[in-house]
């Protein structure tokens, strides 16, 4: 066959032309006849009992559809993992901005006034707003101990290592909440009629999550719920679980009114009420040999889950498994927990716990380097995982990764050694201090542990009589390139031009459940299933004698036409099968945590301006091994985009809280990087391949979120001598740290205390 390879080439994005011409249809671009607009009345307090709800008589309430928890036909919860989050508060408010009541009206201008005209009186209860307050347990807001979930990972006997240690290095590190800040706010339209049930069109990542949640909420059977994903204007995890909530609200209003209802949040509502990245605190206590080798240690990782369990258990799981970084721990004890506070639940955001625990690990490696008296490069070199060694969960590294080579290449690409030397010299004078820093890390692709087995994903490929092929998956496109990459894989498997393959719009009446579009699983897990299903089409045609082993697209078309004339449809499905050698123990949290890890070394170069206290990132090298790169342009875009978000996480994006409510819920005062704020982000790939993924692909989407923050803080330390241990690191934090003590003070790392 002479068809050139489609996998590995930068074919244009499937829906790209619609996007660059403004023709792409997002949910807010859709209007249905007779449609109402919906709005949400939310709690003004962090915790308390609702005493009374009254309606201002100046509003003509008869024109409005009003829904309370009493109108819920099924169970009042957002079904996800524990089903502890209500769709609408019935008695007790557990966080600010919690949905209490829903309104709908044909005129969206009249809605806002009506929302303000609903007065809710409360009997307040004490509330808690930090990890420390939650741990104190003087107020219990969830379960019996405020603990949403905990894990314990044990490898070897940590108690025995302390006496052998040349150094015992301790450190505490923390990360703040971060808003996903997709540019398209959350939104859905719901429609209802008794015959077909509920249909929802929305901006979302996981059609079948919404489907499941609506069955529970509406008390409806599977076939009375239809969920359709519209073009989605960014998600980053922020549209993983939350769409079930807003879809539930629109569906309740649609059921009550019998009319279609659109709810699209404005920016302020989206920021104040929906999920963010979990704030975290990590404590390390590490036994280190005099050569800088880790002998063993204890890691305590705690995340703030907010008021309900939602996805915290799985975010915690990923954070737990990544807490040891890409290093060899002969023995380790990792204790982790997600605690409840009276803030809106924190949720999925690119990286999903790993950016938090890896930030701590990487800052701690720099600390170990200082204590031992070796360089940040050397401490990593001496502790890197090697093939044959095992991770903290005792997963043996079977692939031939060479982290030393990745490190060498990243150092070379960034001209690390020369710059480090030059900056040390130049920093002796002037108010602009330059620094260079590194981070090494890994990111597991796919669901954790036995997760993929439970998901049991199903993928379809359908051929039409004209020889065009449709990929049928519930995997959603929201910028990452799902449509394109999966079509490339199907085209390659069938030996067809890319143009002959299309992807079906995710619609639960059309596509099977190929799992949620999360966890860097789409290219690797779903891609492999698409490849198998596509091969199934070919096998069917070959087996029935309609097609030879080698064929041209026109012969494929003729074969499809013949097959369909005789059999009506030509479809092939593939279901996930766990690789034989994957072993995972959910009880002991031990075994093969992920089918594959991607690996990376990032280098950041910064300038710290001691006049303005601003940190600017001047250059950024991102080197990673992600298996086969299916589409180089899209892959590079995943990395540059992730690095940009992570620069925001490190230096710009600070959520200001007041009693559990976000105060700066506007783009004006929650600052994300703009076009003038970012360095050149230089992206380099290593491709080792991976036995599990399609064509050897691994996950890529979340990886770039993990490394930039620690690399940047390492560079800031190089520039200023201050080992900062918390992000976001804003100019005021730098000012405070550098002025707490006289400017002549030696900020050498041996200085104990702050930072």
């Amino acid at each position: 066959m002479t068809v050139p390879h489609i996998v590995g080439s930068s074919v244009p994005r499937k829906e790209g032309w619609d996007k660059v011409t403004g023709a792409a249809r997002y949910v807010d671009d859709m209007v249905l006849p007779g449609m109402l607009y919906g709005a949400t009345v939310r709690s003004s307090i962090a915790r308390g009992k609702i005493r009374n709800i009254s309606f201002d008589p100046s509003i003509p309430w008869g024109e409005f559809v009003v829904v309370t928890s009493k109108d819920i036909p099924g169970k009042n919860c957002i079904a996800l993992i524990l089903d502890d989050q209500p769709c609408l508060v019935s008695e007790t408010v557990n966080h600010p901005e919690e949905p209490i009541l829903l309104l709908a009206h044909p005129d969206r201008h009249k809605l806002r006034k009506a929302v303000d005209a609903v007065a809710i009186e409360y009997d307040p209860l004490p509330s808690i707003h930090s990890i420390e307050e939650s741990e104190r347990k003087s107020t219990i807001i969830w379960g019996t101990d405020n603990i949403l979930k905990s894990y314990l990972v044990e490898k070897g006997d940590v108690d025995s290592v302390w006496k052998e240690a040349a150094h015992i290095v301790e450190g505490e590190y923390s990360t703040g909440a971060q808003e996903q800040l997709y540019i398209e706010n959350n939104g859905v339209i719901a429609d209802y009629d008794p015959e077909h049930g509920v249909t929802v069109w929305g901006s979302l990542q996981c059609p079948y999550y919404v489907h499941k949640a609506l069955m529970t909420l509406g008390g409806l059977p599977e076939n009375k719920i239809r969920v359709v994903q519209m073009e989605t204007g960014g998600a980053f995890g922020g549209k993983e679980e939350y769409p079930s909530m807003i879809a539930g609200h629109a569906a309740l209003l649609a059921i009550k009114s019998g009319r279609p209802v659109k709810i699209v949040y404005d920016r302020m509502e989206d920021m104040v009420a929906t999920t963010k990245r979990h704030p975290s605190r990590t404590r390390h206590r590490t036994a280190v040999g005099k050569d800088g080798k880790i002998l063993g240690g204890e890691i305590e990782f705690t995340i703030d889950g907010g008021a309900y369990a939602t996805l915290s258990s799985v975010v915690l799981s990923r954070g737990t498994i990544h807490a040891g970084g890409p290093y060899h721990w002969p023995c380790v004890c990792i204790r982790t927990k997600a605690v409840a506070t009276n803030t809106p639940p924190h949720g999925a955001f690119r990286g999903f716990g790993a950016p938090q625990s890896l930030f701590a690990m990487e800052r701690h490696m720099d600390r170990i380097a200082h204590v031992v008296g070796i360089s940040p490069v050397e401490v990593r070199r001496r502790n890197f995982l090697k093939p044959g060694q095992s991770t903290t969960t005792q997963q043996v590294i079977r692939e031939e990764i060479d982290l030393h080579h990745f490190l060498d290449r990243a150092l070379e690409l960034s001209d690390y050694a020369a710059k480090k030397k030059r900056f040390a010299e130049e920093n002796k004078i002037g108010a602009r201090k330059k620094g260079i820093g590194i981070a090494a890390f890994l990111h597991g692709a796919g669901f954790t542990g036995s997760g993929e087995r439970y998901l049991n994903s199903l993928v379809g490929v359908e051929a039409a009589a004209d020889g065009t092929v449709h990929v049928l998956v519930s995997s959603a496109e929201f910028g990452q390139g799902t449509n394109t990459v999966l079509c490339q894989i199907a085209a390659e498997a069938l030996g067809l031009p890319y143009e002959n393959v299309a992807i079906a719009q995710p619609d639960t009446t059309v596509v099977p459940n190929s799992g949620p579009t999360v966890a860097s699983r789409t290219a690797m897990i779903v891609g492999k299933l698409v490849q198998s299903a596509a091969q199934g089409i070919k096998q069917t045609l070959v087996k029935t004698g309609l097609l030879g082993d080698n064929y041209a697209p026109r012969q494929f078309r003729a074969a499809c036409a013949q097959y369909i004339a005789a059999n009506e449809t030509l479809k092939s499905y593939a279901r996930y099968e766990a690789p034989g050698n994957v072993y995972w123990d959910d009880e002991k949290y031990r075994g093969e945590a992920y089918a594959a890890f991607a690996w990376a070394v990032y280098v950041a170069e910064v300038t710290v301006d001691l006049t303005t206290y601003a940190v600017s990132v001047d250059d950024f090298v991102a080197l990673q091994e992600v298996g086969k790169v299916i589409n180089p342009v899209l892959a590079e875009g995943q990395i540059t985009g992730g690095v940009a978000q992570a620069i925001g996480f490190a230096l710009y994006e600070k959520v200001l809280w007041q009693n559990g409510r976000m105060l700066n819920n506007q783009m004006t005062n929650y600052i994300m990087p703009g076009s003038l704020d970012l360095p050149p982000i230089r992206v380099f790939f290593e491709e080792l391949g991976n036995v599990h993924g399609a064509h050897g692909a691994k996950g890529i989407g979340e990886l770039p979120m993990d490394g930039p923050a620690p690399a940047i803080l390492s560079a800031v330390e190089d520039a200023t001598g201050v080992p900062f241990r918390s992000i976001p690191l804003l100019p005021e934090d730098l000012f405070e740290a550098l002025h707490d003590e006289p400017m002549e003070q030696d900020f050498s790392p041996s200085t104990r205390g702050r930072a």
């Binding site: 930068s10 244009p12 994005r13 829906e15 790209g16 032309w17 619609d18 996007k19 660059v20 011409t21 403004g22 023709a23 792409a24 249809r25 997002y26 807010d28 671009d29 996903q180 800040l181 997709y182 540019i183 398209e184 706010n185 073009e231 989605t232 204007g233 960014g234 998600a235 980053f236 404005d266 920016r267 302020m268 929201f478 910028g479 990452q480 390139g481 342009v633 899209l634 590079e636 875009g637 540059t640 985009g641 992730g642 690095v643 940009a644 978000q645 506007q666 783009m667 004006t668 994300m672 990087p673 703009g674 076009s675 003038l676 970012l678 050149p680 982000i681």
Partner: protein, 165 residues
């Protein structure tokens, strides 16, 4: 425009949108963004923040690049407005859109119409923009997906193609 209308009454606004004369009966303080999207069904112009920070609602108003979420429609009376739908029909814009596709300048696509308008505005003023000009020219438009690198590349590539012609 009938300015004698009371606070809550609608008034007639006339303007040219994408080369066509349009007349709408709307509240004078209605946002231009909403009039474009709801009255004229030009949904390519997107709302991101509603406060002039993100640039997703960018349109050209008498050749100026503006955030249509900050423009009361009364202010657009008599003006000529170009949206993404109108600009897409211009020959000069096609190579820019192609460059966005080739270079990976569009991911989720929600900021893309605004980015394209900002880029056109820049390329009309500066035929061969340096990287610093591109960064500056797009500084009113936020993108959360790309990290901007591939957008810069797309704009630079479109400018090169134009110069080559």
């Amino acid at each position: 425009m009938n300015t004698s209308a009371g606070r809550n009454t609608k008034c007639e606004i006339s303007f040219t949108v994408n080369g066509e004369k349009k007349r709408v009966l709307v509240h004078p303080m209605e946002r231009l963004l909403d009039v474009l999207r709801h009255e004229l069904e030009l949904t390519g112009t997107k709302e991101g923040c509603g406060e002039g920070e993100c640039g997703s609602c960018s349109v050209l108003l008498d050749s100026m690049l503006v955030n249509s979420c900050l423009v009361p429609v009364a202010q657009a009376n008599g003006a000529s407005i170009i949206t993404i739908e109108g600009i897409s029909t211009r020959d000069l814009v096609k190579p820019l859109q192609e460059a966005f596709l080739e270079c990976g300048g569009a991911q989720c696509g929600i900021c893309t119409p605004g980015m394209i308008l900002a880029a056109v505005h820049l390329l009309e003023k500066t035929s061969a923009p340096a990287l610093a000009d591109i960064r500056e020219g797009l500084s009113g438009n936020l993108c959360r997906c790309t990290g901007y690198m591939q957008i810069f590349e797309a704009v630079a590539s479109a400018a090169r193609r134009r110069v080559a012609k």
